[in-house]
């Protein structure tokens, strides 16, 4: 198999290139509507949302390495996200406001936690594994609220203060809190460009997240294509058979757990780098549920799925939460009065405050009708358009992610 400098085959290189371009041009792509126009509320090109999409993309890609490849459903992954956030904020407090050490520490600490939790949890599988990880995450959450208050600042959450030591940064003048930066470039600074009647915001924080997300994605591609990734797929498809061939599945699964924990820690560290604040809420089991939803919605076990899922959920969350009854009135004013009221009532249940309802319903529909997630949906759609035929047997359209060609690795 021909490989280029990055160690990817031509197809993956093209894939990575597309992802890089999409990520770098997100501020433009998410701003398709002119400012002040009717549709401007669907624009998503503001820094906060873009950062979140990149960060949760990393989180979901990491979760997918565990769930998508090995099939172990962890219901406590948010614990690592929270631990990463705490570690990073401590680094900002003690050492420097430069984000690099904070993020490295976040990954190391969450990796250590993942190793410990994984070592215990992975002794069981299936539903037991889910419940063990859930139990560990709840333990972390409860402890962050109670005993560990000196470390986590309990309910208030860990914040920066003026009299933190920050050894490397030297003395600070003034009474404002310092901002996170990378070698002097503040994370929250943005450059606004007005073109074609649209305002594009290029934010330092987002580009920092984007570069890291691309790196994380690249590592994930390499991992998916490596013999190690093959082993993880073997864990999913048949552990017993794997043992019979003389391979111990445990170290592989543990490694996958630690890697995905470190991805979660990285995401947590980035969250803290964008907004230097860490609270125990990030570890709540609903937060763990959210990353599961993202991964499933996009398509577990595929490379692009989790990123897509994270993007869709974060985008819709922001947009849906903004739509209130006033906006709905504007939209449906063309309908006759009685009908309008009914339609608005129905839509209002799903927008604004009702965002969680939309999330739950979407999730149920996806799990029920489209277990492969959006990626599978797109593929089916694509093949239907291409073939134009009625026959849509899934074996007609072999999915390289789910049915890898074993010939590649047997050399």
């Amino acid at each position: 198999m021909k490989k280029n400098l990055l160690g990817l085959n031509p197809k993956d290189t093209k894939f990575l290139l597309i992802v890089v371009l999409l990520t770098l041009f997100t501020p433009i792509l998410l701003q398709p509507f002119a400012a002040g126009s009717e549709l401007a509320q669907f624009n998503g090109g503001y820094p906060d949302l873009m950062q979140k999409i990149a960060i949760f993309g990393i989180f979901a890609v990491g979760f997918n390495i565990l769930f998508g490849l090995t099939g172990y459903l962890s219901f406590g992954h948010a614990a690592f996200l929270g631990i990463g956030s705490y570690a990073a904020v401590w680094m900002f407090k003690l050492l420097t406001m430069n984000v690099i050490p904070g993020i490295i520490l976040a990954m190391v600490v969450s990796g250590l936690f993942a190793a410990a939790i994984g070592y215990v949890s992975l002794r069981r599988s299936g539903i037991y594994f889910s419940i063990l990880t859930l139990a560990f995450a709840q333990m972390c959450y409860k402890m962050a609220y109670s005993v560990l208050t000196p470390l986590t600042n309990g309910e208030t959450g860990l914040q920066l203060t003026l009299n933190d030591p920050r050894i490397l940064d030297g003395a600070r003048e003034g009474s404002s809190l310092p901002v996170t930066n990378i070698f002097g470039l503040a994370m929250n600074s943005s450059y606004k460009v007005e073109a074609l009647g649209r305002v594009f915001t290029f934010n330092v924080g987002f580009y920092f997240c984007a570069v890291i997300a691309i790196l994380a994605f690249y590592v994930a591609i390499r991992l998916f294509r490596s013999p190690f990734g093959m082993m993880l797929r073997a864990v999913k498809s048949n552990q017993q058979r794997m043992t019979y061939t003389g391979l111990d599945p445990k170290p592989y699964t543990l490694a996958a757990f630690v890697i995905s924990g470190m991805y979660a820690g990285l995401a947590g560290g980035l969250l803290a780098a964008m907004d230097p604040l860490a609270g125990a809420d990030r570890m709540l089991w609903t937060a763990s549920g959210e990353v599961v939803i993202m991964t499933i919605l996009g398509g577990a076990g595929t490379l692009m799925g989790p990123v897509l899922g994270a993007g869709v959920i974060k985008y819709l969350e922001n947009i849906f939460s903004k739509i209130n009854e006033g906006v709905l009135h504007d939209w449906f004013s063309f309908l006759p009065d009685g009908v309008e009221d009914v339609v608005i009532w129905v839509f209002a249940r799903f927008t604004g405050e009702g965002w969680h309802l939309t999330l739950g319903v979407t999730f149920m529909l996806v799990v029920t009708f489209l277990p492969g997630g959006l990626i599978e949906g797109l593929k089916r759609l694509g093949s239907r358009i291409r073939n134009g035929s009625q026959k849509r047997d899934k074996y007609d359209n072999p999915d390289p992610e789910h049915r890898p060609d074993p010939g590649k690795h047997v050399v």
Binding site: I127, L132, F136, M143, V367, T368, P371
Partner: protein, 343 residues
């Protein structure tokens, strides 16, 4: 001695709730083989049945009482609940006062219907799917149910008092010969414990002593063979799902005076109930009940100051610690059966 007894009592009511929810979870798991993440939502719906009934009974109309005036000199408006007008003030008032126990009767048909619709409408399609899919779809359902309740009842807890007759607490210590005022226990919690014991006993004897229960137990042991004998086991299992929903529902109804119902109470109990089921052993009904009480009591012991001073924060995490230890030492749980959810 007194403190130990007190903590034991305190653990009982929470343990009863855990046991009841875990019993339903295990019933569903043992019969249908489905991991139901929406079971906590059923508990919550039960609690809101109590809220609904008490609101319905409190529906009132306003009349103007010309003989009295309020502080501004306007005639005083008096609210009279319809039930008091229809059935006379005494009986009407009693009805309102006893709304929570009455809600049990009100909730059972509702819960069975909800369970029936859930099983036939959704969960039926997930028997052949992997457990991960079952977890995920019921998790989605739990979110939906929670949001629906939030829409109708708001996000704040709604207090639903117990009947006046059970409002106080009684001096348990004095009864057993200890000093008075040391072991004081609210009546309602004792009633909750008694009620839970009754429900658990009823479910067990239903399974043990009726033909229907016998068939269900046979189906749990070997579904295929029972089907081959010409018995429609699926229909019976659907009924068991309804029964499990009803158990969770009445557990919620009776818990309403202890914890004012709010829309996320189901989720809070669900996580713990799952831990309870796993500790008791997947698919084992006695295990679920025993583990429910055990963990409830352990939790209340861990919240004693004497123990908290030795290991700070233990009260928050004791249940999870116990679960982890049990799962690692006795992988099948306390009373797990061989071959159930081994993989």
């Amino acid at each position: 001695m007194e403190t130990i007894l007190l903590q034991l009592l305190n653990g009982l009511d929470k343990g009863s709730a855990y046991a009841l929810i875990a019993l339903g979870l295990t019933l569903i798991f043992g019969t249908l083989g489905v991991v139901n993440f929406a079971h906590g939502a059923l508990f919550m719906i039960g609690a809101f049945c109590a809220v609904t009934l008490s609101k319905l009974l409190n529906l009132s109309f306003e009349t103007v009482d010309p003989t009295k005036t309020d502080f501004l000199g306007n005639p005083l408006k008096v609210k009279t609940p319809y039930v008091e007008a229809w059935f006379g003030p005494d009986f009407g008032h009693a009805l309102i006062d006893w709304s929570v126990p009455l809600a049990i009767l009100f909730s059972i048909p509702i819960m069975i219907a909800v369970g029936f619709i859930m099983e036939r409408g959704l969960i039926k399609h997930f028997y052949k799917r992997p457990h991960a899919d079952q977890i995920l779809v019921t998790f989605g359902l739990a979110i939906v149910l929670q949001e629906v309740i939030k829409y109708f009842y708001g996000a704040n807890p709604i207090s639903t008092p117990a009947p006046d007759a059970f409002k106080g607490s009684f001096d348990f210590g004095a009864m057993l010969g200890f000093d008075p005022n040391i072991i004081i226990y609210p009546y309602w919690r004792l009633i909750y414990f008694g009620f839970a014991a009754l429900v658990i006993g009823a479910v067990f004897s239903f399974l043990q002593f009726t033909t229907f229960g016998m068939v269900v137990r046979a189906g749990m042991a070997d579904r295929e063979t029972v089907g081959l004998l010409g018995i429609n086991i699926d229909r019976r299992f659907t009924l068991m799902f309804g029964l499990a929903a009803a158990v969770a529902g009445v557990a919620g109804v009776m818990y309403a005076p202890i914890l004012s119902p709010n829309y996320h109470m189901g989720m809070d109990f669900l996580v713990l109930s799952f831990v309870v089921v796993v500790v008791g052993g997947m698919g084992s009904l006695p295990g679920a009940v025993a583990a429910g009480f055990l963990l409830g009591i352990l939790e209340s012991f861990a919240s004693m100051n004497a123990i908290k001073s030795i290991i700070p924060g233990i009260d928050q995490i004791i249940i999870y610690v116990v679960a982890i230890v049990i799962l690692l030492t006795r992988p099948r749980g306390l009373m797990g059966r061989k071959g159930v959810m081994e993989e």
